[in-house]
Each structure stands twice: as structure tokens, then as C-alpha cells.
């Protein structure tokens, strides 16, 4: 993987099991983002949860598959009305809240 062939690449080490809030500058909205994890991260490891805040309203996000490896469990979309807690978020699931003041993916 080469940063020249994958423009706008941001690679960092993270600790499994942790939750990270991710943002750019003072808060920039993205239209597209791909995510890759190292092959060192196995299905036996604790997951890493990333929280992205955004500013402009987004009705929805299209979530694509992970290649290779586990697919996102897109049938388990949490909604703002869902019971979303630290313990209710499992591998491959995502949560989107576009209510004003929250706007979180």
C-alpha cells in the first residue's frame, strides 16, 4: 500500500479495544472514506471503535464491504432511537445519528 497511490491516506497505530474520536482540522465532513486494518488484527482481537463527527446534515451513509475479511453487518444498523451503548456495538456494526447537535457516525 503506497500513500502515492492511495491519496489522502492517514495511517496510524491504534490500541485494540479502545474508542477513538476521529476528526480533521476543526471538523471536516468527508464524502468518502475507506478503511484498512493490518493483517495483524485478527477476528480474535478486540475491536477498535471509531467515532466520526460531522457538521452538515447527512441523511445516510452507504457502508461498503470490508475486503478481505468480515463484512459489515449492515442489517444491524443502529438508529438514533436504538439502544446504542458501549456494550451493544459489535464487530462490523455501525451507528448513525444525524440529529442536530449529535451528527455522529
Amino acid at each position: 500500500m503506497d500513500s502515492k497511490t492511495l491519496p489522502k491516506t492517514y495511517a496510524l497505530p491504534y490500541i485494540t479495544g479502545n474508542i477513538y474520536n476521529i476528526w480533521w482540522l476543526t471538523g471536516l465532513d468527508f464524502d468518502h472514506l475507506s478503511m484498512f486494518s493490518s493483517y495483524s488484527l485478527t477476528t480474535n482481537d478486540l475491536g477498535i471503535r471509531f467515532k466520526f463527527n460531522y457538521t452538515l446534515n447527512r441523511e445516510m451513509y452507504d457502508i461498503g464491504p470490508i475486503r478481505p475479511g468480515e463484512n459489515f453487518n449492515v442489517s444491524s444498523l443502529f438508529t438514533p432511537d436504538g439502544n446504542f451503548t458501549d456494550s451493544s456495538c459489535y464487530n462490523g456494526e455501525y451507528y448513525h445519528d444525524n440529529s442536530v447537535g449529535n451528527r455522529t457516525l
Binding site: M1, D2, S3, K4, L6, P7, K8, T9, Y10, A11, L12, P13, Y14, I15, T16, G17, N18, I19, Y20, N21, I22, W23, W24, L25, L28, D29, F30, D31, H32, L33, S34, M35, F36, S37, S38, S40, L41, D45, L46, I48, R49, F50, K51, N53, F84, T85, D86, C89, Y95
Partner: protein, 171 residues
Amino acid sequence: MQNNPSDVTGAKGIITPGLGNIRIDNIRFYNYPANTHSIETCNKCDSPLSFTNTVQEIFISNISYTNISGNKLFMNGAKREIIYDLDGTFTTTAYDGNQRVSAAVVNNYPHLASDPACLPTTNPQQWDTTIACDSSVKVVRVTFNALAPTSTFSAIGLKAQPINSITDVVP
């Protein structure tokens, strides 16, 4: 390495690649004087035009240092690498007084350094600005890429902050 400092100033024992991963096993370093690097990461990453920031993974085991006064580790460029000390022979007690079974050595990024399992070296002259995370945690690379619109994310740095709960709000 011959112990003649004037001959070896700037010498490096191992330079790890700027792309891809590398395994370093069963290596002995002897007699590295000041102004040398036993291990230097990310080949040519000191040149901004050839920077690669994709977090190379370096796996190290069964190594030893004898009579080293130069840098045991120097991270080039953006210092994004993860150095997996698979058996504790890379860090040893020389790193910070603690002997670890294994460790992940990374740059002292705040989002990692805030974890109690990750401690800074007591000798940054030899170990660069690194921290060692013990075997109670696992450090892995995650890459966000193809950010769009590209113009919006031009020359913009990513910020990562660990939070205790998914509902926590970063100020």
C-alpha cells in the same frame, strides 16, 4: 562495527523499508559509537518527496546490543512505524527499567501514550521519542484513505483522541 568513531559517523546497522513489513531475527549489534543508528526505520523517509506514511510493521526477536552509545532506534520521517518486540530482547530493561515479555514500540503519539500500558523510554537519546506498550494491549495499524473531496483534505492532519465511552463528546 569497528570502534573508530571517525570512520563510522552516521552509520546505520539496519535500515527498514519505507514500504512493506520486515522481520528482524537473531541479530547482534556490537560497538556502535555515538552518531550511529543500530536500527533506523523507513528508508528515505527523510525526503518529503518520497514520504510514505502507511505505518510499516517491524517484527523483531532474538537480538542483543553490546557497547552501544549511538541510537539503538531512530525513526525516520513521520515516525509511524509499529515495532513489535516479540520476545522482549529489543527493549529489555535498558528501555525504561522494565523487562517486558513482548512489546509494541511506537512514537509518543498522545492517543497511544494516554494508555497506562504504554510507557515512554527513560533514554530518548537512544530510543528516539518512543513509548513501549506492554503485552496487555495490542497495537495495530488502521488506515483511513481515499478521503473525498480531496481538495478539502489537502495537507490536513488527522486528529485522534481516545474516549472512554462511545457517547462521550470531545470538547
